[in-house]
Amino acid sequence: MKVFAALLALAAVLAAGLAFAAGRTAKPVVLIERPGQCVEATEVMRRDHMKLLLHQRDRTVRDGIRTKPQSLAGCVDCHASRKTGSVLGEQGFCQSCHAYAGVRLDCWECHTPKARAQAAGAKP
C-alpha cells in the first residue's frame, strides 16, 4: 500500500513536471489569416512546400511559366500578415515556423516578403 502511494506521488510529480515543460516549449505561431483552400492539403504543404517551390522556381526562371498555383508571390499574397503585410517578423507565417525548426530561410534575401498589394503601397 505504501509502495503504491509512493508510486502515485511520483506519477503526480512527473505529470506536473511534464505539464510545466510543455508550457515552456516555444511553439511556432501559425496564423492563417485568409482561411480557405491552399494549393495542396495542409499535410502536403507542411512536409513538401519546399519541393513544390523548387520545382516551380525552375519552371518560372527557365521556361517562363508564371501560372498561379505554386508561385512564391502567390504564397506571400495569401500568407502575409494583415498587420505587417509580410511573411517575416516574429509572428510571420514563414519566419515563426522556420525559427522553430531551425531552418534557414534564403528566399527573402532576393524575393520580397511583402504581399503584392502592400508592396505597391495599397491597403489590402
Partner: protein, 244 residues
C-alpha cells in the same frame, strides 16, 4: 455563349482544324504566336530591340530611369558599384564632329559569351532568346561580367530590401537587363525602356519578335540599315542599332 452549344462545338472544331498537320512540323494554319500562360517559352519567337540612334536624344535618360523604376534598381550613391542594367553612351566622330547618343544594355546574344564562361549554368539563354541569370545557382564569381564585351552585367554588392515582387534581386549575384521578362511573360508586349522612349516622344526603341515578319520591329529592320554592336565578334545580338 452558354445558350448556344453549337458555338462551343464550332470553337473546338476550329481549334482541331488549326492543329491539322500537313507533315510533322508543318501546320496548315500556324497557331497564334501568343503563348498560353502555362506553356513553356519556345524558340518560335526571338525577342529583340531596334535602337534608332537618329531618334535618340542626347541628354535624355528616360529609358534609364524607366528601367530603374520598373526593376526597383536604387541608387546607393556609389556609381562605381551601383547596379546598372541600361546606360546612355555619347558617341562622336572626331573627323566630322557628328554627335549622337544611344542606350546600351544586355544585347541578348544568340551566342552569349556570358553563358559560355558560367561555371554553374546560372547564366543561360531562354528559348525565346532572352539571356538571363538564374540567381538561384549564381555563385557571384563574375566571370560573365568579364566575358561580356558590352559591359552589360552588374554585381550586387550590398544587401537589398524592398525589391519588386516581379523582380527578385539580392546581394552576391550578378544581374543584367532581363528584357523586362516579367512584362513579356505577362503579355505586355513591350519593355519599360521602349515604353518610356515612346512616351517621351522619341520612339527610338522598338521592341518585338525578330522571327515574326509582320512585327513592328521586323518591318523597321527591313526599312532601316542597322547593325549589331561589335559585329566582328559574331555573337548575333538581339539588339540592333541603326545609325551608328
Amino acid at each position: 455563349m452558354s445558350g448556344n452549344p453549337r458555338r462551343g462545338f464550332l470553337g473546338t472544331a476550329a481549334a482541331a482544324l488549326a492543329g491539322v498537320a500537313l507533315a510533322p512540323g508543318i501546320r496548315l494554319i500556324e497557331l497564334a504566336a501568343a503563348r498560353a500562360p502555362g506553356e513553356a517559352v519556345t524558340a518560335k519567337v526571338r525577342w529583340g530591340l531596334l535602337i534608332d540612334t537618329a531618334r535618340c536624344a542626347t541628354g535624355c535618360s528616360e529609358c534609364v530611369s524607366a528601367c530603374n523604376r520598373e526593376n526597383g534598381l536604387k541608387d546607393a550613391g556609389r556609381p562605381r558599384t551601383d547596379a546598372q542594367w541600361i546606360r546612355k553612351i555619347d558617341l562622336s566622330d572626331p573627323k566630322s564632329a557628328r554627335q549622337h547618343s544611344a542606350p546600351v544594355m544586355c544585347q541578348h546574344c544568340a551566342h552569349p559569351p556570358c553563358v559560355d564562361v558560367c561555371p554553374t549554368g546560372a547564366s543561360f539563354k531562354r528559348a525565346d532568346g532572352i539571356v538571363l541569370v538564374d540567381r538561384h545557382t549564381c555563385i557571384g564569381c563574375r566571370y560573365c561580367v568579364m566575358a561580356c564585351p558590352y559591359k552589360a552585367r552588374s554585381f550586387v554588392h550590398e544587401n537589398l530590401t524592398e525589391q519588386k515582387p516581379d523582380v527578385p534581386r539580392g546581394k552576391g549575384s550578378v544581374e543584367g537587363c532581363t528584357l523586362c521578362v516579367h512584362k513579356i511573360d505577362r503579355g505586355d508586349g513591350t519593355t519599360a525602356c521602349a515604353e518610356a522612349c515612346t512616351a517621351a516622344g522619341h520612339g527610338a526603341i522598338t521592341f518585338g519578335d525578330l522571327n515574326d515578319p509582320q512585327s513592328a520591329i521586323a518591318k523597321r529592320l527591313r526599312e532601316l540599315p542597322s547593325r549589331a554592336l561589335r559585329a566582328d565578334l559574331r555573337l548575333d545580338p538581339g539588339v540592333r542599332y541603326a545609325g551608328v
